[in-house]
């Protein structure tokens, strides 16, 4: 166990003292470390995540939850947070127990890898970055290539007054290249990013072929046409399919939105909402995926939750509060960005499971439309049931053939209309997960992954 071991005794005793004043108290302590290098041919910058550690205490009071956070794990810092929570417990003592199931789990797990990334020093990281930079050489339109390689160890310890003790150390590793092409003042770009939970082996995915392909794509974008606009047949590439899964059934199925009575999905539980070829899953236990966790920040183990099972909306994502309110069990989806942030019901790795069609069959089925590639952003409206997805590029589909390259687009529409229009999902060989981040509203960003195979449907598309 790493940097939190020294503080465990203080954390335990602070929880024990506070528990004498209320029915339930918990603490999440965090420490992080890591390193990233950014190389662009002009400059090299290294950045080490801050030597930042701290804890957040949460207690149940007469009027609900109260929290205090402090940056520091020394006894003085912890006493400061303890005092803040104690004052609230004194003024608003709880008359009952908190809703839901208090974890009693005992877990200790760190990312297992034969090749720990922390053994890779600055010089070796810089060498790899320079190599990746050189892989775009020989493409004259490429004005700039930026390479970034990073890793981050996130240690979290969760203790509560019900006896839970969960320690997890997760190491996320990522490498990528961003190529900028310029011609006659027009600027276009594309990128390749590969990452996951593990060690140095993950960086083997940063290959010359993948980086050069991104650079060639940026170059080709200089001559891309404007995209079509209007209601069109759309073929979503895996990264765009991931945004669909994440924005539609990810955010819509976060059960705090049910409790707030602001999810279009709430009245649809158990109902058929899409075709049989559609299955959507959130899986925090997906080995090696970017958003793999071993337990959530309430001490509940990560798990695979089927949100849509062959077209039927079957599951939602829960924390202890929402599970209690809706008669369900926690699903291991309570997450905090860090010890300074509150917990919410959050996704982990959310994806559309592969179907049986081939890419060629989907293009033929589409006949005329647009292929949206390289998803860059998405936005959900859980209340109104709308989604927005932005794609960096795409191709026209004409007479059952993929043709001209088109520039960036936004897709929008009613999710239920979109679901009703889905008529094909490609197979396992196209399946991919990305390495992204997601906020709740406009804040609280944390590592998140989404993906799937190709997916054929109909939607409104416009220039963006």
């Amino acid at each position: 166990m790493g940097e939190l071991s020294d503080a465990e005794s203080h954390l335990y005793h602070t929880v024990a003292r506070l528990a004498q004043r209320g029915p339930f108290v918990e603490v999440l302590a965090q420490a992080a470390r890591g390193l990233s290098v950014h190389y662009d041919g002009h400059s090299t910058s290294f950045h080490a995540p801050a030597l930042l550690r701290g804890a957040v205490f949460r207690a149940w009071t007469r009027t609900g939850w109260t929290e205090a956070s402090v940056s520091g794990l020394d006894p003085e810092s912890l006493r400061f947070a303890e005092g803040a929570v104690e004052r609230v417990l004194t003024h608003r003592p709880a008359h009952d127990s908190p809703p839901g199931v208090s974890s009693t789990a005992r877990l200790e797990k760190m990312t297992a890898t034969p090749r720990p990334i922390r053994d890779m020093g600055e010089q070796e990281m810089l060498s790899l970055a320079r190599d990746a930079f050189s892989w775009t050489a020989g493409i004259p339109e490429i004005r700039e290539t930026e390479v970034q390689i990073s890793w981050r160890d996130d240690e979290r310890m969760y203790l509560n007054s019900a006896g839970a003790r969960c320690y997890q150390g997760i190491c996320r590793v990522r490498g990528g290249a961003f190529a900028v092409a310029m011609e006659n003042g027009r600027v276009e770009s594309d990128r390749f990013i590969h990452g996951g939970v593990g060690g140095r082996e993950i960086l083997e995915g940063l290959t010359p072929e993948a980086v050069r392909k991104a650079a060639e794509s940026a170059r080709d974008m200089l001559h891309a046409r404007a995209p079509p606009a209007g209601k069109l047949t759309v073929l979503l590439a895996p990264s765009v399919t991931g945004y669909f899964a994440h924005e539609s059934f990810g955010h819509g199925a976060e059960a705090d939105q049910f409790v707030r009575d602001r999810s279009y999905l709430k009245p649809l539980q158990g109902q058929t909402v899409g075709p049989e070829i559609l299955t959507i899953v959130d899986n925090g236990a997906y080995p090696g995926a970017w958003s793999e966790i071993y337990c959530d920040d309430e001490g509940h183990p990560a798990q695979r939750t089927v949100l849509v099972d062959r077209g039927r909306f079957t599951g939602a994502l829960h924390d202890r509060d929402t599970a209690a309110a809706l008669g369900a069990l926690p699903t291991g989806n309570t997450r905090r960005s860090d010890f300074l942030s509150r917990s919410f019901v959050r996704m982990t790795n959310t994806y559309v499971e592969p179907g049986e069609s081939s890419f060629e069959e989907l293009v033929e089925e589409a006949r005329n439309g647009v292929l949206l590639d390289s998803g860059t952003a998405g936005l959900e409206d859980p209340q109104g049931g709308q989604i927005q997805i932005k794609a960096r590029m795409g191709h026209l589909i004409e007479n059952g053939t993929v043709t001209d390259l088109v520039s960036s687009m936004a897709l929008s529409g009613q999710i239920l209309d979109f679901l009703g229009s889905i008529r094909g999902v490609s197979g396992p060989k196209d399946f991919a997960l990305d390495t992204g981040s997601c906020g709740k509203g406009r804040t609280d960003f944390l590592p998140n992954s989404a993906g799937g195979p190709y997916l054929l449907a109909t939607a409104v598309v416009g220039r963006a």
Binding site: A50, S71, E144, V187, L340, Q386, S407, A410, V460, G462
Partner: protein, 469 residues
Amino acid sequence: MSLSRPGDAAAVRVGDRLAGQEPWEVFGERIRRYEIHLTGEKIEMTRGPIALEGYGIRLFRKRDNLFGIGCQASNDFTDEGVRAAAEDAERIARYSSFPEARFELPTGHGATGGIVEVLDRGLWEYPVDSLDEYVAALRAAFEGRKPATLSFGSVRVTLSEISICNSSGLRTGYGHTSVDVELGVKASGGPEGAVPQEYWVNDSDRRLRPAALGDRVAEWSRFAEDVRRGKPPPTGEMAVVVPPPVLAGILPTVFGGRFTGSARLRQVAPVAGMQLGSELVTIHDDGRIAWAPTSSPVDDEGVPQRRRTLLDHGAVSEILYDSLTAGTFDTKSTGNGFRGFTSGARNWYRFLQPPTVSASTIAIEPGQGGTDAELIEAAQDGIWIQQIGWSSPDPLTGAFGGEIRLAYRIRNGKLAESIRGGTLGGIALAPEGSPSLMTRLEAVGSKAAIAESVLSPPVLVRPLTVAGG
């Protein structure tokens, strides 16, 4: 919280222990944050104090014609903690490099930056009471507003003390307050039988202003009703009136990405004299606007903020520099070295990230376009775009676009039915000679308002691409 005495400020406490490691810079931050989260109009959770005190060290090491820059941040103020952070920075400096012709850290002379109003005294002195009072006023303002209700919300107030010092003798600092309000205002029911819909409120301010909530909640409730009634727009190119909140989602990222020394280093910055916009548009970067969320007396390197003209009647005038990029091009910092900027928005704590060159507040000079009604009349046929879901601007290509959360059709020079759904998009800033939002500005309104990191009047653009049903 009380402001620290100068010698006790976080940066100074660390800087005093860096003797012999010159040149160095320390940015310190001491923060108290308080939050109230609402589910419906019920308080779901109170949070605070969220106490955070930390510092970021930068060391500068000359190597031939390059500089090695070493950065590390920490919240450990013990001798051992400061030593560990400095050692990390020193090690990193050995491997990093930045092209420098001439590098100067700002000195203590004139670095106070003068007075810029960024601190709400009442909120600073009584944060818990002020927050409670605001949330009570917010809940009261929704009484009697049905069918509009509050579906969720959070109000977060942050009190921050910034301190900056360096080995050239700079000692400066200031206190500031910030307020972030995020609400979902839901409209449901009604004779049309439409499903419930929400209007989203995302406000950043320096002050809590409960007295203004009555009018604002009335407006938000009306917007929520209009979202619920809205229908998708037609597809086509049309005149669009764009108000400050929508510009705030586009311009800071685009100008902050292209009009900077770092963009110049990457050879993607515009050159002075290029005509990139209509002659009607003059745009400044101004970090001294009272109560603007991104204003401050000095930047995060301690250089006083000023007003810089980016576009003068559509022609490129200046670009922005921090100390590092200024040194590369043998010029002076414009006071635009900021920590913690992400996509045009500023994080509530900043010491974790080293400074980069960024815009502060993008200010469009008011024009002769008149009132909102006059802009709408000038548009004749088109849309007024009230809110885009996320315009996700690309700082390099200038492309922006997103889903229409709320807009109004303009028919015969008057606002007509509301629009919900479809997309709006285009290029905010294009190469000289190519069409863009900046070149297609047909009129600039006469009254400016602050929206996040933009100070602007509404502008009329003809045309932009709208895609609908």
